[in-house]
C-alpha cells in the first residue's frame, strides 16, 4: 500500500525545499525580532498619538488568521499595483505577524528591568536613549529570549503556509513530487519528518542560548 522507495529520486527536491524553509525562517525570524523591539519601544516611549493606534492594529493581527493576513498582503499589494515576489510577501507577512507577538514579550521584558539600571546609567552620564540601547534593551533581550525563541519555533512551522502563495519551500516542493508520483502520504510523511528534525535542531540551539543567557542573569 505504502511505498517509500518513491522518495529517493526526489531527495534533492526535498532538501532544497528544506533549505528554503530554513532561509525563510531565518529572514522572517530576524524581521520579527527587530520589528518587535521597535514596536515595543514605540508603544512604551512613543507619543500616545502613535502608540494607541499601534495597540489597536496589534489586536487586528492577533485576532485574525495568519493565512488571511498573507492573502490580504499578497492580493492587496497586487491591487495597489505593488508586485512583490511571493517569497518576499511571505517573509514580510510572517515577520510582521510574529513581530506583533514579540513586541508584547519585549515590552514586558523591558518593564521588568530593574529601575536601578536606568539610574546607574544616568548617574554615569548616559542619556536616556543611550541607556536604553546599552543597558536596558540588552538585558530585556536576555529575559525575552526563551519566549521569543518559542515564537521562532512556531514561525518555523508556519512557513509551511507560504506554499499556498506559491513559495517553493518544503511543502510546495513535496507537492511537485506528489503530482509526478501520486504518492501524497509518503511525501507528506517525509515532509513531517524533516520539519520535526528542523524543529528539534532549533529547540536544541535555543535551549543552549537560553542556558547561556540564564548563566549571565
Amino acid at each position: 500500500m505504502l511505498d517509500f522507495s518513491v522518495l529517493p529520486p526526489y531527495a534533492d527536491l526535498l532538501a532544497t525545499g528544506a533549505l528554503w524553509t530554513v532561509l525563510i525562517t531565518v529572514l522572517a525570524g530576524a524581521l520579527s525580532v527587530v520589528l518587535g523591539v521597535l514596536l515595543a519601544l514605540v508603544t512604551l516611549y512613543g507619543p500616545k498619538l502613535i502608540s494607541l493606534p499601534l495597540r489597536g492594529i496589534a489586536f487586528l493581527f492577533m485576532g485574525t488568521p495568519l493565512l488571511l493576513q498573507l492573502y490580504l498582503l499578497y492580493y492587496g499589494l497586487a491591487q495597489l499595483g505593488v508586485l512583490l515576489p511571493a517569497f518576499w510577501t511571505g517573509v514580510m507577512g510572517l515577520g510582521v505577524h510574529y513581530a506583533v507577538y514579540n513586541a508584547d514579550i519585549f515590552r514586558s521584558a523591558i518593564q521588568s528591568v530593574d529601575e536601578g539600571q536606568m539610574e546607574a546609567a544616568r548617574s554615569l552620564g548616559f542619556g536616556r536613549t543611550a541607556a536604553l540601547r546599552h543597558f536596558i534593551i540588552p538585558q530585556a533581550t536576555l529575559t525575552a529570549l526563551p519566549q521569543v525563541g518559542n515564537n521562532s519555533i512556531i514561525l518555523l512551522k508556519d512557513t509551511a503556509v507560504l506554499s499556498v502563495l506559491g513559495v517553493a519551500e518544503l511543502v510546495l516542493n513535496a507537492q511537485r513530487g506528489i503530482s509526478a508520483t501520486y504518492r501524497p502520504f509518503e511525501f507528506y510523511f517525509a515532509v513531517a519528518v524533516l520539519y520535526y528534525l528542523l524543529n528539534l535542531a532549533m529547540e536544541w540551539a535555543l535551549g543552549r542560548a537560553a542556558r547561556k543567557a540564564e548563566a549571565i542573569r
Partner: protein, 254 residues
C-alpha cells in the same frame, strides 16, 4: 573660607511630593577634598538630598552647583539633557543596591562609560578599568559577571565603575546597607582609601563609627531639615540638639 568656590554647593534645596515636603530648604558647601557624611532616620530626606545633587531627583526650589557650574540650569529639552549628562559624568554615584549591569562582566561594567561617553578606545578604557579593579582589590575578577560576585565585590566594582569617569566628586547612597556585616569592611576600606586621596565625597550612611572615622563634617537630618551639623566629634560625640541625641541613643543601642 578660601577664595575658590566649593566643589559642591547647595542653596535652599526644597522638594515636595504633592503637598508633602521632604526637603525644606537645605544649604551645604563641600570644598574640594572634603568628606561630608549625612546621617538621620529613614524618611529624613537624606537619600533624596543626595540624589538631588546629580538630579536623579528633581528639586522644586533651590540651586545646585558643581565646581562653579550650576547643575539645575535654566536650560530645557535637549540642551538640558546634554548639560545634565555632562554634569553627571563629573560626579560618580554609588547605590545601595549596587546596580551593576548584569549582562556585562566586571571589566565591561567599568570600561563601558569611558568608551561610550568619553570616546576612549577599547584598549585604553580596559587598561583604565584594570587599574581601577586592581585599586579596589579585584584585579582577578575582571572576567566575572556580577551574578558570580559577592555583595562586597559588587559594590567595589560599582565604585570602580564610578571612578572610571574620573569624577570631581563621589556620592555614596548607603553603600554598605545592603551588605552582610562581614562584607562591610572591604567596601569601607576602599572608601577610606579614596578619602586619603582627597576625593570630594558626600556619604549617606547609617554607620556612625565609619562616619566618625572618615568625615570632616557631619549633617544630621530629620523631617527634611538639617537639625545639627559640624565636625564629627561634635555632632556624634557631643550633640547639642535633643533630636540628635535621641537618634544616636536609639542607633547605638541596636
Amino acid at each position: 573660607m578660601t577664595s575658590a568656590a566649593p566643589m559642591i554647593r547647595l542653596r535652599g534645596i526644597r522638594k515636595s511630593y504633592g503637598s508633602h515636603e521632604v526637603l525644606k530648604g537645605i544649604d551645604l558647601d563641600v570644598d574640594q577634598g572634603r568628606i561630608v557624611s549625612i546621617i538621620g532616620p529613614s524618611g529624613s530626606g537624606k537619600s533624596t538630598l543626595l540624589r538631588s545633587v546629580n538630579m536623579l531627583e528633581e528639586i522644586s526650589h533651590g540651586e545646585i552647583w558643581l565646581d562653579g557650574v550650576q547643575v539645575n540650569s535654566a536650560l530645557t529639552g535637549r540642551a538640558f539633557e546634554t548639560h545634565i549628562n555632562r554634569i553627571r559624568q563629573q560626579m560618580g554615584m554609588v547605590f545601595q543596591q549596587f546596580n551593576l549591569f548584569p549582562h556585562l562582566t566586571a571589566l565591561e561594567n567599568v570600561s563601558i562609560a569611558p568608551m561610550k561617553l568619553k570616546g576612549k578606545s577599547k584598549a585604553e578604557a580596559e587598561a583604565l578599568a584594570r587599574t581601577l579593579l586592581e585599586k579596589v582589590g579585584l584585579a582577578d575578577k575582571g572576567g566575572a559577571y556580577p551574578a558570580r560576585l559577592s555583595g562586597g565585590q559588587k559594590q567595589r566594582v560599582a565604585i570602580a565603575r564610578a571612578l572610571a569617569m574620573q569624577p570631581k566628586a563621589m556620592l555614596f547612597d548607603e553603600a554598605t546597607s545592603a551588605l552582610d556585616p562581614e562584607l562591610v569592611d572591604e567596601v569601607n576600606l576602599v572608601m577610606k582609601q579614596l578619602a586619603a586621596e582627597q576625593m570630594t565625597m558626600i556619604i549617606v550612611t547609617h554607620e556612625m563609627r565609619f562616619a566618625a572615622e572618615v568625615s570632616d563634617h557631619v549633617l544630621f537630618m530629620d523631617g527634611g531639615v538639617v537639625v545639627e551639623q559640624g565636625p564629627p566629634e561634635q555632632v556624634l560625640k557631643a550633640p547639642t540638639q535633643e533630636r540628635t541625641r535621641g537618634f544616636l541613643r536609639k542607633h547605638l543601642a541596636q
